[in-house]
């Protein structure tokens, strides 16, 4: 469905060139959910935006690699092909639904606009109502006439999902879709995403910093750190037995219900894209770092059961 090979993404400014994504590769099968996990600045969001070519050039440049969506090379696509890929190929929902909706149009009109672009034969009021109903909005006929500001954050996110579903995309990218929402509303939205995914059979790229959400939603997971993937694995296996020191540290740093004692924190901060450490990018913060970790940049290597890890010492005690 989606295949990203060795993606290199740079941001150019007058002062410097910053490589935000450095050699990211992953694939998503039809109907599969991939969780893309990382902290701010890890490059997870810009990787996802590259799939629909949504980054402005300049400052963003694709310095290398390929992105195949439904068999077509996105990075080489013409404007016309891109229009087809966006929407029917890949649709997006973001963290701040309020910022993604147009404040001066009624939500029904915005969903209809999405229908006109991607499924013109279905651009009817009935279809708008059906979509709103599908995403769990009560009194959809009346709600179609509401403006975004008249809705709560949870409802706005439902509208965003309806707009994305209007195109019947093969891949839905959900970038921290519930981070701005309360936990009971988050549970509603995650259940909704799972439901619509199953009904449409679409693939889901779920970007999150929350490993609990990964466990609940994802089939497989890729963990990013400082512009690179450091570990990929089936989601359950990763959460049961994280192998990369960063994944382990991240899991220990996240407070869990019923947990006691001191949280294991990761010292220091995520490196800035302009100032990457030498060797392994995680070595300055790694509790298990050895002298050569600051010299040799480790490769992402396949180890077992479809797992990959970017640490030569993953198997050492």
């Amino acid at each position: 469905m989606l295949e990203i090979r060795n993606l290199q993404l740079e941001f150019h400014s007058d002062q410097q060139t910053v490589r935000a994504v450095d050699g990211v590769s992953f694939a998503i099968a039809p109907g599969e959910t991939l969780g893309l996990v990382g902290e701010s600045g890890s490059g997870k969001s810009v990787t996802a935006l590259s799939i629909g070519r949504l980054l402005r050039t300049p400052p963003a440049f694709h310095a290398g690699g390929e992105i195949f969506l439904d068999g077509r090379d996105v990075l080489k696509a013409s404007k016309r092909e891109l229009r087809q890929l966006r929407g029917r190929g890949v649709s997006y929902i973001f963290q701040e639904p309020g910022a993604s909706l147009n404040p001066v149009f009624r939500v029904g009109a915005q969903i209809k606009e999405s229908l006109k672009l991607h499924r013109p034969q279905a651009a009817t009021d009935e279809e708008v109502v059906r979509l709103l109903k599908w995403v769990g909005i009560s009194a959809p006929e009346a709600r179609a006439k509401s403006y975004p500001h008249e809705m709560s954050g949870g409802m706005q996110q439902r509208v965003m999902i309806a707009m994305a579903l209007a195109a019947e995309p093969k891949l839905l990218v959900a970038d921290e879709p519930t981070t701005a929402l309360d936990v009971t509303i988050q549970a509603q939205i995650l259940a909704l995403l799972k439901d619509v995914q199953q009904r449409l059979g679409m693939s889901l790229l779920l970007i999150t910093h929350n490993l609990g959400i990964v466990g609940q939603m994802a089939d497989r997971v890729a963990v990013m750190y400082a512009g690179q993937i450091v570990e990929t694995a089936p989601a359950r296996e990763l959460l049961r037995r994280p192998l990369h020191p960063y994944t382990r540290a991240l899991m220990n740093a996240a407070p869990r219900l019923g947990g006691t004692g001191r949280l294991a924190n990761i010292p220091g901060n995520v490196p800035r894209p302009g100032a990457m450490p030498s060797g392994c990018r995680f070595h300055p913060r790694c509790a298990m770092a050895r002298p050569d970790c600051s010299v040799n940049a480790p490769e992402l290597v396949a180890i077992e059961n479809g797992r990959q890890v970017r640490c030569p010492y993953w198997n050492s005690p």
Binding site: T184, A187, G215, A253, L257, L263, P267
Partner: protein, 330 residues
């Protein structure tokens, strides 16, 4: 003040905001942001305050910090009614409490150096007899929050989010407060940095005996840092008890839903998920009876009419639900 009197005592606190209408601002109604809340905090204790947006938790913190006017009820700090403090009396006591905010980007003046930000508090409260003494104190404060003394000459934009939160904590500590109201202090931070700040707050509490009112929406964070936890819904306390009891054996259906909605990493601990329907009603127009009844999976006829009182279900564990006794086995 006796030795075991609470540091902070909040009694039947109410905060109402007027809803104004039209050009002349006629008051059309009242939002009952805080509707009769009572609790205490002991010296050196952390009380967690959880709830979803709009439940009133931030307003409660701000009302205690005297940033919002209270409608009725009382807030006593060190045995004294805070509402009675005015003028010089108030100034002399202001250093007893401080606040830390969610957004470390917006709560520090970008035009002031870190040293000036912390030094300002020292000057206002005339702590340190001269500039040299104050400089030494600033250095010591920065080091106590894990920063370098030399950072005093830097500006806020030169720091990461986690470091800025450390600056905010150093500023709060500058006046040696007895109570710090922490309003979502780690919600804007990455997981790895969040753990650093939580640990720092715990260390500082042990060293200095400062009490925290820790306001947050993340139940796991609140459980970790708090001795006791309050759960709020629509301006009211629905549950109050020891942190582990509230999380492990919640007695209010709302708390049960909150706990079950937290996405868990461990398979073993994954609970049967209770997905609530709908959203929290507007505090302008709260439902009759139990404020939670329209969303409650176990609501009965009585819940629509009778407001449940907060009552002690087991020792030191309170819940405001007519059926809290039978909610035990969750």
């Amino acid at each position: 003040m006796s030795a075991d009197a609470p540091l902070l005592e909040v009694r039947e606190l109410k905060v109402y905001f007027p809803v104004k209408h039209g050009l002349l601002g006629a008051v059309r109604g009242w939002v009952k942001a805080i509707d009769g809340v009572s609790f205490e905090i002991a010296a050196g204790e952390t009380l967690g305050l959880v709830g979803e947006s709009g439940c009133g938790k931030t307003t409660l913190g701000r009302a205690i910090a005297r940033l919002v006017k209270i409608a009725s009820g009382s807030v006593r700090l060190d045995g004294e009614d805070m509402a009675e403090w005015t003028g010089a009396q108030l100034r002399a006591r202001r250093r007893k409490w401080q606040m830390i905010f969610q957004d470390p980007y917006n709560s520090l003046d970008p035009l002031m150096t870190v040293g000036d930000i912390i030094g300002e508090a020292l000057e206002i409260h005339r702590l340190g007899s001269n500039a040299k003494e104050r400089q030494a104190r600033i250095k010591e404060l920065l080091e106590s929050v894990g920063l370098d003394g030399a950072h005093a000459r830097s500006y806020p934009h030169e720091f990461s989010g986690g470091q800025r939160q450390r600056i905010g904590i150093a500023r709060a500590l500058a006046v040696d407060p007895k109570l710090i109201i922490c309003d979502e202090p780690v919600s804007a931070l990455d997981v790895s940095v969040q753990a650093q700040i939580i640990n720092l707050l715990q260390d500082l509490q042990q060293q200095r005996g400062v009490a925290y009112l820790f306001v947050a929406h993340d139940l796991a964070v609140v459980e970790r840092i708090s001795r006791r936890v309050i759960v709020m819904y629509l301006g009211k306390v629905v549950e109050l008890g020891p942190a582990n009891a509230v999380v492990q054996t919640p007695r209010h259906p709302y708390t049960q839903a909150l706990v079950s909605a937290v996405p868990e990493i461990d398979e073993q601990t994954q609970r049967a998920r209770i997905i609530l329907s709908g959203e929290m009603p507007s505090p302008m127009d709260p439902p009759a009876g139990c404020p939670f009844h329209p969303r409650c999976p176990m609501a009965e006829g009585r819940c629509k009419e009778e407001i449940p009182l907060l009552r002690e279900i087991t020792s030191r564990h309170w819940a405001a639900c007519h059926f809290a006794d039978r909610n035990a086995s969750k």
